[in-house]
Symmetry: C2
Subunit: 330 residues, 2 copies
DNA sequence: CTGAAAGCGCTAACAC
DNA sequence: GTGTTAGCGCTTTCAG
């Protein structure tokens, strides 16, 4: 078998030219005389030469790699973001270096700092507050945040969480519900925005909101929280969950408890993950355009890399998806 | 603000030592005299120095990065594999470079070849046949395959697909079903193994198997296939789907068609993805230990990287998970 | 324990 | 068009 892979010098020697010529040829930097081109092609083919991207990156200072940190790869919302980002990256010949923060806030900073050294730019989804994320500015790499940041001069992409939550509340009010509960996830920075949106809507008709916390953004957490919410002192007629996964778990547990959805309680989520459609009853939710978010975040980053920075926040418009988990209040 | 990040030379100058000393210090290669150590620590802190992993990799030839190619990041089975692999990688201070093949077979080879140059080793999930995958041997990097390969001398991890399918068939036979259909995905290499497992079981009782194809391993594809399977000339009493996603889509469409699961037809999947549990009826399936597969694949690779190669195939044992989508035949 | 020097594989001026 | 030469930031002998 083979030894070490051939270097640019091996090719130069085999083709009888200089390394500079080989380098230029590999980069398609200019045109060559027919005989040289032929020899080059032959030598490269013969040796199976492929230029070493590491050495190249060291000189150019560019890796053609984008770092993407997500909070949890198990959450379909984030995989959709990745899907979108990846599509745009591939199109521009960039590779994604994916880091799953895995909902462990402690390691976030070191992981991102290490990542930053190996990539040309970063797309970051983080639970850090603006204050806690200031160090990102010192990374000296273009960054796009997957949530609004009012204080940091970093471009970002997200949805209007207040509006999304407002829409769900309005939908439930229209169905005649009056006792509405919110099952949130306090660790998420956008949780407050969603609570605000719901409150804003309920305020208009003089209703108050019962707020619960699921402690995790997962189906399992939704399951656990269900009895606490439904069998507590103030049984709600409708529950707005922080995200679809919590809602899915909630609905499953409700069924176990003999509580029917939507007859006994209406349930909603947020995100419109693929499986919300295949649950039964199919989940009423708000589409947040996860894939498009990933696409736009990547596009912004690539633009920045190309010298067209953009420090604004882009907000996608949420869209209410009414399915079968919500119904008129009895 | 700062300009370019400081290099090892800056630190050496600031600390009044040589670059070699700084290098050794950064790598914890040896012990140092107290004054030198103090100066180094101070200089590094002062300048905010972090060694450049690219330059380091170029010399050592190691990147502490593992490449992982998966067929589709939208499939929860694969995200679980990633989760497991990532856990082990982190534990050994490796980073994952994830590539989503996105079910596009054409680009597979170039993507993997490019990936191979940037990592120390690869975990590959591919639809290529052994024959088509021979070039992987020339990559000169340790590889672990996420499926059995009998011909290639490459270590692999997988489950016993024949047994998994056999178990599902046996379960359905025990429930009294006689007209059993298989809704597969012909592109997958393991599809044949699963068909074989089902056939083997049905042969024992002299039954034949109706085989259909969903054309994609997705819920959407399962939806589309449902009417073809259920409203064709040979309506089955039970359907074994290639994976959970297809089964989920199938069940949704069945409901639309007024076909009740499990009363009118029993349905099973394979994989035990998280959402199979939250569907209703909850899906009967076979657990393939996706996370453990990812963990073991990574462990094998890291062992290989540490000089303990292992060319064997590790097979996880499938486990039948009976839930509510299967019931006795009326 | 510490330092000087020789590169890793490649690119980027600048000559020819 | 093609070659020469200087490094990129770091590790690694090998002296001292």
């Amino acid at each position: 078998m083979k030894k070490l892979s051939p270097t640019i010098r091996d090719v130069a020697a085999a083709a009888g030219v200089s390394v500079a010529t080989v380098s230029k040829y590999m980069n398609g930097a200019q045109r060559f005389s027919a005989p040289v081109e032929a020899k080059l092609k032959a030598a490269i083919e013969e040796l199976g030469y492929r230029s070493n991207p590491l050495a190249r990156s060291m000189i150019t200072g560019r890796t053609r790699t984008i770092g993407l940190t997500i909070l949890d790869i198990s959450n379909p919302h984030f995989t959709n973001v990745v899907k979108g980002a990846n599509r745009i990256a591939l199109r521009h010949d960039y590779t994604l270096l994916l880091v799953d923060i895995d909902e462990t806030q402690a390691r976030e900073r070191p992981l991102i700092e290490a990542l930053a050294q190996r990539v040309d730019g970063l797309i970051v989804s983080s639970r850090l507050s603006d204050e806690e994320a200031k160090w990102m500015l010192d990374l000296d790499k273009p960054i796009v945040l997957l949530r609004r940041s009012d204080e940091l001069p970093i471009p970002s992409v997200g949805i209007d969480n207040r509006l999304a939550a407002y829409m769900l509340a309005r939908h439930l009010l229209n169905l005649g519900h009056r006792q509405i509960a919110y099952l949130g996830f306090g660790q998420a920075r956008i949780n407050d925005e969603r609570i605000r949106g719901v409150r804003e809507c309920l305020d208009e008709v003089g209703l108050t909101l019962e707020v619960h916390d699921a402690h995790a953004p997962t189906a399992r957490a939704g399951e656990h929280a269900c009895s606490r919410v439904m069998l507590g002192p103030h049984r709600p007629q409708a529950v707005i969950c922080y995200n679809d996964l919590i809602a899915l778990g909630f609905m499953k547990e409700a069924a176990s408890l003999g509580i029917r959805v939507p007859q006994d309680v209406s349930v909603t989520g947020v995100d419109n993950v693929p499986y919300s459609e295949y649950a039964s009853p199919a989940l009423t939710t708000v589409d947040v355009q996860s894939e498009k978010m990933g696409e736009l975040a990547m596009q912004k980053l690539i633009d920045a890399l190309a010298g067209h920075p953009d420090t604004g926040h882009s907000m996608f418009e949420p869209r209410l998806i009414v399915r079968d988990s919500t119904a008129p209040c009895r």
